[in-house]
Structures are given as structure tokens and as C-alpha cells.
Amino acid sequence: MEIFEAVREIICDQLEIEDMDTITMKTSIMNDLEADSLDAVEVMMDIEDEFDIEIPDEDAENFTNIEDIVKYIEEKIA
């Protein structure tokens, strides 16, 4: 849950979303939040910094929603 909160905060910061509740585990950054590819890259880089991990492009391409990202981070920091 903590990871989800942190990811949510990063996304809201980047996309200037005020209502955090618009973002759920099933939200897709690109499709639901109208983020462009540059936004997506910035979100990934912020996540890398926050959790001190590296997310290769090949992995990032597979994310369809926030849940995928949260699971990925869980595995990486476990």
C-alpha cells in the first residue's frame, strides 16, 4: 500500500492532478490520464529515484496500469 501511495504522489505531481483519488490500481497513465510519452518517461525516472531502482525501457514498455508498476517495484526492492 505504501508503494502505491508513493507512486500515486509521483504521478499526481508530474501530471498536476489535484484529486489523488482519480488514480487507482487500474489506472493507465497514458490512456486514462492523457500523459504523453515525455510524461511517462519523467514518471519512470522519478520512480527510479524514489525507490533507488533502475527500470529498463523493455520493462517499462510492459506496464499497462499502476498495478503493474507497483508489483514491479515490490519485486525489485524485495
Binding site: 504523453d36 515525455l38 519523467e42 525516472m45
Partner: protein, 247 residues
């Protein structure tokens, strides 16, 4: 020492055009960080002079074509400055030769410093600028990147590359409040052109409608304008500063 809000990183700032740019921006109250490769003494002189203009100054020894040096440079900058708001990619070298005589090392050296260096330094500062939603990147190209020049296959290719890069990155980063422009000098009196033969100089002068060579300050004035808020709506442009040599 005044507290200035903006910081500029100028690569190759110890001599010639880079030095003039450091002076010009410091007069605008912008803190100055310069990189130098070999001329440490001259770099420190520049820092002394910009500090006389009331801004902070820092000289860093760095080869902009190596990732390691650029990384270390950014670390040093982060320790002393909050951000890099302005980047002037100015560091450049020439290794002139006719194609048939050109050595691969001459080709590589010029491409590495003039083009790869621009890529590495721009990448290094881009993220900070994106976060701040502000940034001005000015790349020093050359008119020969547009016109071509016999004996400068490597140099003109690198500068044409810089022009293409300038336009691409202007498109990429525009939505983040970052402008990216190029200045293309013609024949400017610096150490780089000092070594050319009298014949070439005479021939070049004949090609310049304004009948004089450029001074480093002629270039610095335009860079100063592009760094100012007066140029906020200009991006992806290459401005020739060449006395009319190329039209």
C-alpha cells in the same frame, strides 16, 4: 557578491567565443560555470573577471565528450549551485583536412567533442530543466554546417549534426518550457581561426558583405539575447552571425 537566481553552464568557456559569452551573461547578473580542457590558467582568469561583475563563478576541468567527465561535472555543479538554467554548448575543436588525407582519429575527435559533447551535456541538464519547467539551451553551430566547406568534412558534419539536434530537442522539450536554439558563427577571430593561412583569411574576407571578421562579442551578444526573456518565444532556430557571409 549578489544573489543571482540563474546559473549558466558554458562549455569551453576559457577562450574565444565561450569566454565572451561568460562575460556577457555575467553582465546580465547570471552566475557562470565554465568548463575547460587544457587552459586552466585562462579559465581561472575568466572566473576572476565574471566575479568582478558581481556573480558567482566556477571553472571545471572536463572533457565533454566523455560520459564520466560530464557526470563528475554535474556532481560538482550540484554541490555549489541549485540548478542549471542556461546551457551553452560551445566547446568545439577543428581538425581540418581534405577527405582523402583525413585520418579516422581526426574525424572521431571532432565528432566526439562537437556533437557527442552536445548530446551528453544537454542530456545531463535536461532533467533538472524539465522539473523546473524552465531552461534555455543554446548550441554554438557554424555556418559551415549549412554551407559546407572544403577541408572541413568532419567539422561541418558535426555542426550540421548540432543543427539537427537543436531542432529535434526543441520539439521534444518545448512543452516543458525549455527553448533550444543555435547560433551559427561565420568567421570569428579566435585561436581557432588564428592558425589559418593569410590566403584563406583574405578569401574569407572577400565573402563577407560587412567586410570584417566577427569578434567573439558579436556572437556573445546574440547568445545573451537568446538567454534573456526577450527571446522566450523563439525555439528551434539557428541564427547566423556572420556579417552576411551566408544568405
Amino acid at each position: 557578491m549578489t544573489l543571482s537566481k540563474k546559473n549558466a553552464l558554458i562549455t569551453g568557456g576559457s577562450r574565444g567565443i565561450g569566454r565572451a559569452i561568460a562575460m556577457e551573461l555575467s553582465r546580465q547578473g547570471i552566475n557562470i560555470i565554465i568548463t575547460y580542457n587544457s587552459s586552466e590558467e585562462k579559465a581561472l582568469e575568466v572566473i576572476k573577471e565574471v566575479e568582478n561583475n558581481g556573480v558567482k563563478g566556477l571553472a571545471i576541468k572536463a572533457d565533454v565528450s566523455t560520459e564520466e567527465d560530464v557526470k563528475n561535472m554535474m556532481k560538482t555543479i550540484k554541490n555549489q549551485f541549485d540548478s542549471v538554467d542556461i546551457l551553452v554548448n560551445n566547446a568545439g575543436v577543428t581538425k581540418d583536412n581534405l577527405l582523402l588525407r583525413m585520418k579516422t582519429e581526426e574525424w572521431d575527435k571532432v565528432m566526439d567533442t562537437n556533437l557527442k559533447g552536445v548530446y551528453l551535456c544537454t542530456k545531463a541538464v535536461a532533467r533538472g530543466m524539465m522539473k523546473k519547467r524552465y531552461g534555455k539551451i543554446i548550441n554554438i553551430a557554424s555556418v559551415v554546417g549549412i554551407s559546407g566547406n572544403a577541408g572541413q568534412g568532419n567539422y561541418s558534419a558535426s555542426k550540421a549534426g548540432v543543427i539537427g539536434f537543436t531542432k529535434s530537442i526543441a520539439k521534444e522539450l518545448g512543452s516543458r518550457g525549455i527553448t533550444v536554439n543555435g547560433v551559427a558563427p561565420g568567421f570569428v577571430e579566435t585561436d581557432m581561426t588564428e592558425v589559418l593561412s593569410e590566403d584563406i583569411k583574405k578569401h574569407s574576407l572577400n565573402m563577407i558583405p560587412l567586410k570584417r571578421f566577427g569578434k567573439p562579442e558579436d556572437i556573445a551578444n546574440v547568445v545573451g539575447f537568446l538567454c534573456s526573456e526577450k527571446a522566450d518565444y523563439i525555439t528551434g532556430q539557428i541564427i547566423n552571425v556572420d556579417g552576411g557571409m551566408l544568405m
